[in-house]
C-alpha cells in the first residue's frame, strides 16, 4: 500500500518534468519541420516578416518571408519601454516603502500594489487600446508628432504599469534582507538617509535587484495580451516608439488563431517563434538565479 501511494506521489512530482519535456519536444519537433522549409539563417537574420502564403502559386511573394528580426526588435522595444517605466518606479516605490514609509502607509500601499499585480493582462490590454493609445496619439498630434494609433509606446507604458508591482515586491524583499547594522553604521558615520540607501543599502541588495529586473524582463518579453490588443500587426523594423511594431507573441497569436493547416510554413513558423521565446525566457531565468547565487553578500 505504502509503495503504491509513494509511486503515485512520485508520478505527480514527475508531471513537472513531463510538462517541460512536452514543451521542448513539441516545439522542437514543429520547429525542425519549419526549418526544413525555411533556412535557419533566413529566420534568425532576415529583415522582412510577411508570412502570408498566397492562395495561388503564381501570385507575387507566394512563399512568404520569415525574417524574424523585426519581431525581435519590436519585442525588445516594447519590453525596453516597459522596463524603463517599471524599474525606476518599482524600485523607488520599494525603497520608499521599506526605508521611509510608516508602518501604516506600508500596510495600505503594499496590498494596493498587489491589486495591480492581480489584474488580468486582458484588462491591461483593453485599457491600453481604449485609453492610453488615443491619449498618446492626441498628445503626439498636439506637439506635432505623428503617432500611430497602435504605438509601441502605449503598449510598453501599460506593460510597465503591469510590471511595477512585480519589481517593487521583489526589490522590497531584497531591501528588507539587508541587515539593519549596515544602515546603522552608515548613519552613525554621518551619512544622510538617502546617502545610506544609495551607497550602502542598494549596493548590498544589488544582485537581488538585478535578478528581479531580469525576471521582469522575461515576463515583459513573454507577455501576450497587452501587445495583441495594443501593439498592432505590422512588422516594422523601427525603434521609433510612436510607430506600430509587432512582437513575437502577437505573431504567434495571429498565426495560430483560426483555421490552420499543419504543414504550411506559416503555421510552423509560430512554433519556431515560440521556441525562441521559450529559450530566451528560460535563459533570463537561469541567469537571474545565477546572479543571486553568485553575487549574494553573506552577512551571517
Amino acid at each position: 500500500m505504502e509503495q503504491v501511494v509513494l509511486g503515485f506521489l512520485l508520478l505527480a512530482a514527475a508531471v513537472a518534468v513531463l510538462t517541460t519535456l512536452g514543451i521542448v519536444l513539441s516545439l522542437a519537433f514543429e520547429t525542425l519541420r519549419f526549418f526544413d522549409k525555411v533556412p535557419f539563417t533566413d529566420f534568425l537574420f532576415g529583415l522582412t516578416w510577411s508570412p502570408q502564403t498566397a492562395l495561388r502559386a503564381d501570385q507575387v511573394a507566394s512563399a512568404g518571408l520569415f525574417g524574424a528580426v523585426p519581431l525581435f526588435t519590436g519585442t525588445l522595444l516594447i519590453s525596453a519601454i516597459a522596463l524603463g517605466v517599471a524599474v525606476p518606479v518599482g524600485l523607488m516605490s520599494a525603497i520608499y516603502l521599506s526605508e521611509y514609509a510608516t508602518p501604516q502607509i506600508r500596510n495600505i500601499m503594499k496590498p494596493l500594489l498587489e491589486v495591480l499585480a492581480g489584474v488580468p493582462t486582458v484588462v491591461y490590454g483593453f485599457f491600453a487600446a481604449l485609453t492610453v493609445a488615443p491619449l498618446i496619439r492626441g498628445f503626439g498630434e498636439n506637439i506635432g508628432l505623428d503617432a500611430s494609433s497602435e504605438s509601441a509606446l502605449a503598449a510598453g507604458l501599460v506593460m510597465g504599469i503591469m510590471i511595477i508591482p512585480f519589481i517593487s515586491s521583489l526589490s522590497d524583499d531584497v531591501l528588507n534582507a539587508v541587515p539593519q547594522l549596515l544602515r546603522d553604521g552608515s548613519l552613525a558615520l554621518g551619512s544622510t538617509k538617502s546617502e545610506t540607501i544609495v551607497n550602502v543599502v542598494i549596493p548590498a541588495a544589488f544582485p537581488g535587484i538585478v535578478s528581479g529586473v531580469l525576471l521582469a524582463a522575461s515576463r515583459a518579453i513573454g507577455e501576450t495580451m497587452i501587445v495583441v490588443m495594443a501593439a498592432g500587426l505590422s512588422a516594422n523594423l523601427t525603434i521609433n516608439p510612436l510607430e506600430a511594431v509587432t512582437t513575437v507573441t502577437v505573431q504567434i497569436v495571429t498565426l495560430l488563431v483560426g483555421d490552420q493547416e499543419f504543414d504550411s510554413a506559416k503555421t510552423l513558423s509560430a512554433f519556431a517563434l515560440a521556441l525562441t521565446l521559450f529559450i530566451i525566457t528560460l535563459a533570463l531565468n537561469v541567469i537571474a538565479l545565477k546572479v543571486v547565487r553568485k553575487y549574494r553578500e553573506q552577512y551571517e
Binding site: 523607488m92 520608499y96 495580451m225
Partner: protein, 421 residues
C-alpha cells in the same frame, strides 16, 4: 590615513539635505504614479462599464393576428415557431408614428428597436399561445445605438439621426422608454448585437474550465509537494524536479497554449475549443504556483508533530496523511485559490486551443465548444461596434469581482486558520 574633516560648511549641509528631500520626493512620486495608474485603470473601466448593467427597453402595443401567425388554428409548436414575428413589431412601431411614410424613414424607425425583438416576441408566444389574436403591451430591448443615446447624459450621439431623436423624445414623454437592470447581460450568451449580448456563456465556460483545472492541478500539486517535502531524498532526480518546477513558473503562458495545441489537440485528438482542454492547459500552468505554496505550507508544520506520530507507531504515510497534511491544508488551499485566480484571468493559452470562437449557445458539457470570460473580453474589445466598449467593460467588472472575491477568500482563509507554532 586621516583626512582633515571638511569644514561643516552650512551650504554643503543644505545641499545634502536638499538631496535627501529630493530623494524622498522621488519615492513619493513613484508611489503616486502607481496609485494614479491604478485609479485611472479602475475609474475608466467602471465609468465605461456600469452602463452595461442597465438596458433601455421600449414598450410597444403588439397586435397578433390569428391569420398571420397561425391561420389554420393548429396551435402546433412548429407553426408558431415558424411564423413571422418581425411584422407585428414593425406594425406596432408604425402605429405609434403614423406620419412616417417614406421607406428610408421607416427603416430608421424600425431601427429604434433591437433586431432581437422578433425573437423575444416569438418566445413569449411559444410560452403563452393565448396571446395570439390579442393586443398587448410588451417591452422590447432598444437597439444598441438608442440604448447608448438614452444612457449617456449629454444625449449627443452621432449614431442617432435627428428624426430618430424626435421619435425617442415622443416615446419618452409617453412613458414607453424605460431603463432598468440588464438581466439579459447575465442570462444570455454572446451575440453580434451588443444589446442582446450577455456573459452567461463565457461565465459557464470559465466555470467548466476552472473545474477541470482545479480537479487536475490540486491533487497533482499536493501529491508532488508531499513527495518533495516528506519523501524525496536529496538526489539528482529531486533536484531535477525542483529546477523544472521553478522554470515552469516563469514560462510565458502562451507557450503552454502551444503545448496544448500540439499535444492535446493534434497528438491526442481532443476536441478544439473545449473547456476540457482549456482546463488541462491551465492546470499545467497553475501547477507550479500551487506546488510552491503547498511546499511552504508543509514546511511550516513543525517536525515534532511528525516525530510524535512516528513515535506512536504510525507509518510514514499515516503520519503525513493523518497529521501533517490536515495541518498544512489551509495554507495549501490559500495557494490553490490564488493559483485559480491567476488561471481565471488567463487569456493567451486559451486563444491557442481555439476557445476564441463566436459561440452563442451556453456550453453544457466539458467537451462543448466554449469560450471563457477573459477571452470574451478580448473578443468584445475587438468588435467595432461602439456599444461593445460598454459590454467589454461590464464583463471586466464581473471578472474583477470574481478575482477580488477569490483573493479575499484566500486572505480570510489564511487569517482564520493561521497557526503560530
Amino acid at each position: 590615513m586621516i583626512l582633515p574633516a571638511p569644514p561643516l560648511n552650512g551650504d554643503r549641509m543644505k545641499k545634502r539635505f536638499r538631496k535627501e528631500r529630493r530623494f524622498k520626493f522621488y519615492g513619493i512620486l513613484a508611489l503616486s504614479f502607481s496609485l494614479l495608474a491604478m485609479v485611472a485603470l479602475f475609474s475608466t473601466i467602471i465609468d465605461k462599464g456600469v452602463g452595461a448593467f442597465r438596458q433601455t427597453s421600449i414598450t410597444l402595443d403588439i397586435t397578433l393576428d390569428q391569420d398571420a401567425i397561425d391561420p389554420e388554428k393548429t396551435a402546433l409548436r412548429k407553426t408558431l415557431a415558424a411564423a413571422d414575428y418581425n411584422t407585428p413589431v414593425k406594425k406596432a412601431l408604425r402605429a405609434l408614428f403614423p406620419d412616417v411614410k417614406k421607406r428610408k424613414s421607416k427603416r430608421r424607425l424600425y431601427k429604434l428597436v433591437s433586431s432581437g425583438a422578433a425573437y423575444d416576441l416569438r418566445k413569449a408566444v411559444l410560452e403563452n399561445p393565448k396571446l395570439i389574436g390579442t393586443t398587448f403591451a410588451m417591452a422590447f430591448p432598444a437597439s444598441a445605438d438608442v440604448d447608448l443615446y438614452i444612457k449617456s447624459q449629454a444625449q449627443d450621439s452621432t449614431q442617432i439621426s435627428s428624426d430618430q431623436a424626435g421619435w425617442i423624445k415622443k416615446l419618452q414623454s409617453s412613458g414607453r422608454i424605460e431603463t432598468g437592470l440588464n438581466w439579459r447581460f447575465f442570462t444570455s450568451g454572446d451575440s453580434r448585437n451588443p444589446e442582446l449580448a450577455g456573459i452567461l456563456g463565457a461565465l459557464v465556460g470559465s466555470i467548466l474550465t476552472m473545474a477541470v483545472t482545479l480537479g487536475l492541478s490540486f491533487p497533482i500539486a499536493v501529491a508532488a509537494a508531499v513527495y518533495l517535502e516528506e519523501f524525496a531524498g536529496d538526489n539528482r532526480f529531486t533536484r531535477l524536479i525542483e529546477v523544472n518546477i521553478n522554470n515552469l513558473a516563469a514560462v510565458p503562458s502562451i507557450v503552454f497554449g502551444l503545448l496544448g495545441l500540439s499535444v492535446f489537440l493534434n497528438f491526442f485528438g481532443l476536441p478544439r475549443s473545449a473547456p476540457l482542454v482549456g482546463g488541462m492547459v491551465l492546470a499545467l500552468m497553475t501547477l507550479p504556483t500551487i506546488i510552491i505554496a503547498a511546499r511552504a505550507s508543509l514546511k511550516a508544520v513543525p517536525p515534532s508533530i511528525r516525530h510524535a506520530a512516528l513515535g506512536l507507531g504510525a507509518t510514514k504515510l499515516q503520519t503525513v496523511l493523518h497529521h501533517v497534511l490536515p495541518l498544512a491544508l489551509p495554507g495549501i488551499l490559500t495557494g490553490a485559490i490564488i493559483g485559480m485566480a491567476q488561471a481565471l484571468g488567463e487569456t493567451a493559452p486559451l486563444l491557442m486551443i481555439g476557445m476564441v470562437a463566436f459561440i452563442v449557445d451556453i456550453p453544457a458539457s466539458f467537451t462543448d465548444a466554449a469560450t471563457a470570460l477573459p477571452v470574451q473580453i478580448y473578443l468584445w474589445a475587438d468588435s467595432p461596434e461602439r456599444a461593445f466598449v460598454e459590454k467589454t467593460s461590464g464583463a471586466i467588472i464581473v471578472l474583477l469581482a470574481f478575482l477580488i472575491s477569490m483573493n479575499a477568500l484566500a486572505q480570510w482563509l489564511r487569517k482564520k486558520f493561521e497557526i503560530k507554532w
